[in-house]
Symmetry: C2
Subunit: 496 residues, 2 copies
């Protein structure tokens, strides 16, 4: 439809909240579309894109093999060149989401493999189209290709998605883009997918929260701590009166609303990086997108899982029983922390690649944004406390960044040991920035006289919760970073 | 066997690590034994205890009903007195672990119910023995009693345990202890059970960690960040070389070892509270046990779950696949945060009951222990840094306690809002104290010349990790407590 990514992601959240597993089918087709749109030949685009867009066919990403996932240089799948320009693909791929099913007429596998004679490392990887059914010249479906589902994985969750082991036995494939440039082409899919996985984490947190709110208003257990807040006509009060139940709801609410804003801000950078008028703006958006992507994927899926666990907790024992549906949110949310690059890999991507790229241009631009917005907001009484809290958190982030520059290069283990708390610290600051923006907007609307005053007052109250109950975590993250790698690397492997 | 509780809990951990679900069957018999041993008549003890001890019969705890769990005052199960001194029990109990099975010849249900005419609140609850098969006078099994399994719950985990809905339809029961004192008698079971559940959390963290260590040494993926640490004969290094993998392993290791020590220290208080020679010592042990129980149950199950999640994360995608077994640890560990009083209830028990009891005698005694041990350890170079870190965390805890005394009574919501971070803060300090003790012991053995020097050096390294990478969290917990309840209680219920 040519709509901006911002609209895409707003809709994507609803799809993921409705059913994460099922939403993955069109999600993967979208990834395959992106890779082909950017790297395919005109013929390939004409053959595959219209059917992927209409949903008549679907797509997959075939990267992982039994012995390698993170380290794709180790992959063994082979591509043997044929006289007609095609390749015979042979190997085994695992964890292939939407790998086999009958929801679409054809499945277009995008497969990483090494062409005969290519370097046996990450530089020797090429990308191939391997359709389940060969497409005839007239566009009709021809022979069944030599790619077969060997098994469907039994998983912890996302049971609605067919996660397959696929055996390629001299399957016919066609090269996408240049040989030995496959990983770069696949990263087009991966980067879009990583933002989408961040949405999944937030969406599971949101739907679990919505259920927990309904339960907390309905379930009566115990008495409000303050007698005047008790329901005189009942023997017990709805559990939403209890501060510790509200703690879990407020943590989820404060996370969900800011995470949604962050995802949309990230999506806006995708749009700007493609469509902004000046090269300068496009570059700035691309910088910011690169920096935010690992945070959106890693931090939002960790916190979305936490929100789902807390929402389940509000149900007490009922949360552990399948028929209530809460435990499914927890099981489903768990995968988002693992796939498309486990969250530890996101943290390394942030610290090892994104921070230092172009002399730290992206992170400096980010600090400038946060610095300018907090400085301005400190002058407004309605946002001053929040702005000060964000300033402190941002100081922690800047200090940690400086520490990394000074200590991460001399000893790379310092960077590796700092990566995960650094991602968390940047997550706290990013969501804090989103709260500052929302608070500024609500404060301005309240000052101007809105007919939705209660909504905006609640926004300000939730922003205050974030400042008081989440932002104090920034300093602990910083201190963990500054502790360095010594205590992490001290033990010999056999001492574990 | 009359062995001390310390031995019991050391064994209990292994049982829980081996199979949490299966370990619950004897665990519940043990709880039933405790309640009957303390409150049963001589005849009841003679009839039931020997068979519970031998395992010929098993036991249950029947508290929860569909509409109430935390708030047992709401329970509806009725007990109608009969001419022969027995009662007819009618009602529905849910989530009854080991509620029906054929692993033992008889099942002795301990059931909470209200005698006809008793107050319809928490003060009207009595405790009853309801055997699955009525026991004849000669000890043989007689008629099937009117307690039937209505369904077996479909749960997130602990599938090996039969969690039942039990229908009582004029089942014959006998009063245990005094009428309307049932909750107190049941709490004998509950308190022992809560320590046991803390062990479950730690045990799941430990077994998940052990698996993750084996995987991290075996799985090769990527290269060590420092070239000299690379395996020149392979294309990739075992993932245990990566700092972020080690971060997850070290967090689990630092937690497991200190949690084990804390559990055994708690178990020692059980033994001392029963067997210490002086009344003063027995009282001091009982105080400390009361204070530690919610921390052991709440903090250890939360952190045990976290350790299991991190251990699963180390497996990447394989962790999400059932056949690897890691996702089962996560699903099983999750229940320990919920049952025997959800962890939010543990936090309220700590802050609302245990802190203030006897004018704060227990917590003052705890502060004295921590204060004296840190002061002494600061003079020893090997433990000085750890002692200083513990002192800072303990200062946070003391400051937070003072804040609670000043703000929790005037506004009870402040206490409710502070409860969960307070439990976490005390957890950080308790495990810190355990690390200080272990470090002192290892340091002394190293100074004296041990033949197990590597083991003790590794203990000191893990203690350092705890000080540098976990203890910084104490200040964030304190700041959350000091934020008070305002932002948690601000929203009206319909704003969620």
């Amino acid at each position: 439809q040519g709509l901006p990514k911002v609209i895409n992601f707003a809709v994507e959240e609803m799809i993921c909240s409705a059913n994460l597993s099922f939403g993955m089918y069109p999600g993967l087709s979208n990834g395959a579309y992106n890779a082909l749109a950017l790297h395919g030949t005109p013929e390939q685009k004409a053959t595959y894109l219209p059917k992927l867009v209409s949903g008549t066919w679907s797509g997959t990403m075939c990267l992982t093999e039994p012995h390698c996932g993170t380290d794709l240089g180790l992959l063994k799948t082979k591509a043997e060149p044929q006289a007609d320009g095609s390749y015979k693909i042979t190997g085994t791929k695992i964890f292939i989401s939407a790998g086999e099913h009958d929801l679409s007429e054809n499945i277009i596998h995008l497969v990483l493999a090494k062409i005969t004679g290519a370097p046996d490392n990450v530089k020797g990887i090429s990308l191939f189209i391997v359709p389940k059914f060969i497409v005839n010249e007239d566009g009709s479906l021809g022979a069944r290709n030599g790619v077969m589902c060997g098994s469907i994985e039994e998983k912890m969750g996302i049971h609605g998605n067919s996660t397959c082991l696929l055996n390629y036995d001299e399957a016919t494939g066609w090269l996408v883009g240049e040989p030995e440039k496959g990983l770069a082409a696949m990263f087009i899919m991966m980067n879009a997918a990583r933002l989408g996985v961040g949405v999944q984490g937030m969406a599971q947190g949101e739907v679990a929260y919505q259920n927990a709110v309904a339960y907390a208003k309905d379930r009566r257990q115990g008495r409000a701590l303050v007698p005047t807040d008790r329901d005189a006509e009942a023997k017990a009060d709805p559990i939403i009166v209890h501060p510790d139940v509200r703690r879990m709801l407020m943590e989820a609410k404060a996370f969900n609303e800011a995470a949604r804003a962050l995802v949309l801000w990230g999506a806006l950078q995708v749009d700007l990086s493609r469509k902004a008028q000046s090269e300068e703006e496009r570059l700035a958006a691309d910088d910011l997108l690169g920096l935010l992507t690992p945070v959106i994927k890693g931090y939002l899926t960790d916190k979305g899982f936490e929100a789902a666990v807390n929402a389940q907790q509000i149900y007490g024992g009922h949360g552990y029983i399948r028929e209530w549906g809460m435990e499914q949110f927890v099981r489903d949310a768990r995968i988002a922390q693992i796939y498309e690059g486990a969250n530890g890999i996101q943290a390394l991507d942030l610290v090892g690649r994104k921070l230092g790229a172009n002399g730290g241009r992206a992170v400096q631009a980010f600090f400038k944004i946060v610095g300018e917005e907090t400085a301005a907001a400190k002058n407004d009484e309605a946002t001053a406390a929040l702005a000060s809290a964000l300033e402190r958190a941002n100081n922690d982030l800047q200090t940690a960044t400086l520490w990394l520059m000074q200590n991460g290069i001399a000893n790379p283990y310092n960077a590796g040991a700092a990566a995960y708390p650094y991602m968390n610290l940047m997550g706290v600051v990013c969501l804090g920035l989103m709260w500052l923006r929302m608070a500024k907007a609500s404060s301005a609307l309240l000052a101007g006289g809105t007919d939705n005053a209660a909504f905006h007052q609640n926004k300000l109250a939730t922003a205050r919760f974030y400042a008081e109950r989440i932002m104090p975590e920034s300093n602990a993250h910083r201190r963990k970073i500054e502790a360095g790698a010594d205590s992490i690397m001290a033990l010999p492997a056999d001492a574990f």
